[in-house]
């Protein structure tokens, strides 16, 4: 039987991908982030997940506003990399597990989550940057991935509460899978940041730290927040934080915190939280 072994919340900042590709993760600017993820790699080696469900969002890479899904689940054996405007990065395709994905889609759709199921889906920094921070892609990614895309671009977005419930349903769906898989759930996005308008560059570290407290110990408080409240506190683009709720909803009510980190060099709080499931 498959089971969830842990959860991780982490931001997905595009410039980290650039620094990674250029071998600059140990320059003074990026060393704090590099160090933040050293214990994560040890933790991952210990809990040894076989599949990662990565809750992320597309950034105008594969999805367009002609047909914009609320929740899109990847159901393929591999996911190519999209082109974010600068040509592709030197990364292999992400490995999937179509059978596991389709199992999840059956459980979730029959449990009243109205997914868009994707047999073709191209990945962008929303998923790839967290992968870069967790795993080496050479010669190939060492883990299989299920991409779960959430609309955080075009309002109406799914509510924080809905994302939380999606996580809870995801846990049940994982536990109904007959094969022995050790599943890590990653929620990406945030923290405080705003990229549009005169308020560009807005950050709020106090709120980011509060969010990290709440998502660990009192996630229902975040689940009750509206998008308006999230944007006021953290900037328009910080609504991405609703994706952390899906991760947290998939974990046991009580969790054991392993690591927590925060670094905000430029326009976004780059956070990390790793949680072990109580089973």
């Amino acid at each position: 039987m498959a089971r969830i072994v842990g959860g991780m919340g982490t931001s997905h900042v595009p410039s980290v991908g650039v620094a990674y590709d250029r071998g600059k993760m140990q320059t003074p600017e990026w060393q704090p982030l590099y160090d933040m993820f050293l214990p994560v790699k040890e933790w991952l080696a210990r809990i040894d997940p076989t599949i990662a469900i990565i809750v992320y969002n597309d950034h105008g890479t594969d999805l367009f506003f002609d047909k914009y899904p609320t929740f899109a689940l990847g159901a393929a054996d591999y996911y190519p990399q999209g082109d974010e405007g600068y040509g592709p990065r030197p990364l292999p395709p992400v490995r999937g597990d179509a059978e596991f994905s389709w199992h999840l889609s059956e459980q979730l759709v029959w449990n009243e989550f109205d997914l868009t199921v994707c047999q073709e889906l191209a990945m962008d920094h929303g998923l790839l940057v967290p992968m870069n921070l967790c795993w080496d892609h050479r010669p190939d990614w060492p883990i299989k991935v299920v991409p779960l895309q959430i609309n955080v671009l075009q309002h109406p977005l799914p509510t924080a509460l809905r994302c939380w419930k999606l996580g809870q349903a995801l846990r049940k769906a994982v536990e109904a899978y007959p094969k022995d898989e050790r599943v890590l759930v990653i929620g990406t996005g945030g923290m405080s940041h705003q990229l549009n308008g005169e308020r560009f560059g807005f950050m709020n570290e106090n709120w980011d730290q509060q969010f990290l407290d709440w998502i660990e110990a009192e996630p229902e408080r975040v689940a009750q927040m509206t998008h308006q409240e999230l944007m006021e506190k953290g900037g328009a683009e910080s609504v991405e934080l609703i994706m952390w709720l899906t991760m947290r909803g998939a974990l046991s009510p009580q969790v054991k915190r392993i690591d927590r980190g925060y670094y905000n060099p430029m326009t976004t709080g780059i956070a990390l939280l790793t949680l072990e499931d109580a089973g």
């Binding site: 950034h59 105008g60 082109d83 974010e84 405007g85 309002h155 308020r199 308006q228 060099p265 430029m266």
Partner: protein, 118 residues
């Protein structure tokens, strides 16, 4: 439960809701198209001809011609689509951000915790 409160606007913020998405639809379509290398080439070669593929209004064309990123946002360009327009015109996120704030790039960098982490 309503998630947005139009009567409580956030200063300097353009929430990409359906009104903006409708308004900016053609501009977003142009920007999205620039995620393909051959389209970027065509755009760079002849911007005016490229506009014709997307049925832009004269006002919309002007916003692109002037690289008026704040104007583009106000006209409904989604920030993530606009990043592709930035990439094709040599404007990174932070350049576009500085312009939206009404600052020079250097002024903007000086407001950051680690301005060299670009």
């Amino acid at each position: 439960m309503a998630q947005l409160e139009p009567n409580r606007p956030i200063d300097g913020t353009y929430v990409f809701d359906w009104r903006l998405s409708r308004k900016g639809y053609r501009l977003n379509k142009l920007a999205f198209s620039l995620s393909r290398a051959e389209n970027r080439d065509a755009f760079k070669e002849n911007e005016e001809a490229y506009f014709d593929r997307f049925d832009l209004s004269e006002e919309e064309k002007d916003l692109v011609r002037k690289r008026d990123f704040l104007g583009l946002i106000r006209h409904g360009t989604n920030i993530y689509m606009m990043l592709k327009l930035g990439a094709a015109t040599g404007n990174g996120l932070y350049q576009m951000g500085a312009q939206q704030r009404g600052e020079t790039y250097q002024e903007f960098l000086a407001t950051r915790n680690v301005g060299s982490a670009t």
